[in-house]
């Protein structure tokens, strides 16, 4: 009797190598499935159990997940773009042109990076609106809202720093204007402007600083806060679902799911 693919997979899962990597083992009992989530370094950030209703599109419109998706596309396209781009004043613009017209699939990667960046900014805002209007920011999720605001700022800073890298006229003057807005901060404004640009005007130092911020500091900071953001979803009781909130919290937040005042 010929084996089915499933049977091969089952056998693979019984092997010593597989079992040494995936500790929770096989089987479809609730415990085993919970352990598969809980014992995985990536998945353990999430709740081990989720209500089916919360996985439906209408519950969240998948906006947070889609934001993560665009972020992953940006990492996956940004790293190959770095292989052809030199963050130096004489080369940056020519490299951007090369990526657009000379490098195989360069235009595709660059455009994907650009459009994903636009999509990410849009999705972050959409996610925040959805969370706000569902009331999902309320107790005990206030801190996760704050983390979300930090992530919004990081997203905008990533967009802003990426804007300079093509080193064309649009980039140059946009960053000139943007960094001059930073100078408007009382007392320390000029200092911030100087430290951000590494000089008094947008020049080679500014390009390099923005490159390091865009490719290293900001993405790493984003990943750090994204990890906390996800972990807090679990710690604050999973995805927000008003009907399953504890009565005390529901009373405190003051409204029932039908929108009427709580008794």
């Amino acid at each position: 009797m010929a084996k089915t693919v499933d049977q091969y997979f089952d056998e693979l899962q019984q092997t010593r190598v597989w079992r040494s990597i995936f500790r929770s083992g096989t089987g479809s009992s609730t415990l085993k499935r919970a352990l598969a989530i809980q014992q995985n370094v990536f998945l353990h950030l999430f709740s081990t159990k989720v209500r089916t209703r919360m996985l439906s599109f209408s519950a969240t419109w998948y906006l947070g997940t889609l934001t993560l998706g665009t972020f992953l596309i940006l990492v996956a396209t940004g790293i190959p773009l770095m292989l052809y781009y030199h963050p130096s004043a004489p080369q940056a613009y020519a490299d951007t042109k090369d990526l657009q017209f000379v490098v195989s699939s360069g235009m595709f990667l660059r455009n994907l990076h650009r459009w994903s960046a636009h999509a990410m900014v849009f999705l972050v805002f959409a996610h925040m609106f959805k969370v706000f209007y569902r009331g999902a920011y309320r107790t005990p999720r206030e801190f996760n809202w704050v983390i979300g605001v930090v992530l919004l700022l990081i997203t905008l800073l990533l967009s802003y720093t990426g804007y300079l890298l093509p080193w064309d006229q649009l980039a140059y003057w946009a960053i000139t204007v943007g960094s001059n807005i930073a100078s408007a901060v009382p007392v320390i404004g000029d200092k911030i402007h100087f430290l951000l640009l590494g000089g008094h005007a947008v020049n080679a130092n500014a390009l390099l600083r923005f490159y390091v911020l865009h490719c290293m500091i900001l993405p790493l900071t984003a990943m750090f806060f994204v990890a906390i953001h996800f972990w807090r979803i679990r710690k604050d009781g999973g995805l927000y679902n008003h009907d399953s909130e504890p009565a005390t919290i529901r009373a405190k937040n003051g409204r029932t799911s039908s929108g009427k005042e709580a008794k």
Binding site: W173, T176, V177, L195, G199
Partner: protein, 163 residues
């Protein structure tokens, strides 16, 4: 007196508390030091930026009643009836390079629409301030020099250079 105080202080602290305080104190000092060094590191000590003093060439390059924009240095050289003077061409709003509009006889910023007279005076915003005047002089070779780092009072007698 001093010994008495020392004794009081000693009696309040256990050995463990003393070392905890000592450790936290040392770490705090190290953290402040690291912050200070980081700040110093991030602030460049040497800038490879162009010199603020610009050689604008011989005065006869600039006809009477002309406004000439030096794009690379961000200044105007203006030859008026009163003499030569120089204006910063950098908009006082958000730092864009302004342009001389000969047909309108004004200086205008392409970014957000600020307008200035040829003496730097603001016609309309959003720029908050007039374009600053820069120090101008003639060197021994007879060239016009402009110091972009030094502002001089607008329309003041000494702010013009006459040849």
């Amino acid at each position: 007196m001093a010994e008495e105080k020392k004794g009081e202080l000693g009696s309040d602290l256990t050995r463990r508390q003393f070392f905890t305080k000592l450790g936290l104190g040392s770490l705090s000092i190290a953290a402040v030091g690291t912050a200070a060094f980081s700040y110093q590191y991030l602030e460049p000590n040497v800038l490879y930026e162009p010199s603020p003093v610009v050689n604008a060439g011989k005065p006869d390059r600039y006809p009477l009643d002309s406004v000439t924009l030096d794009v690379n240095n961000g200044i105007y050289i203006i030859h008026s009836q009163e003499g030569y003077f120089s204006l910063s061409a950098v908009c006082t709003h958000l730092g864009c390079l302004t342009a001389w509009k000969q047909e309108l006889g004004i200086i205008a910023c392409p970014c957000h629409g600020s307008k200035f007279e040829t003496n730097g005076k603001k016609i309309e915003g959003p720029a908050p301030k007039p374009l600053p005047w820069k120090r101008v002089w003639i060197n021994d070779d007879g060239d016009v020099l402009v110091d972009r780092s030094t502002d001089v009072p607008a329309l003041a007698r000494d702010s013009f250079v006459r040849v």
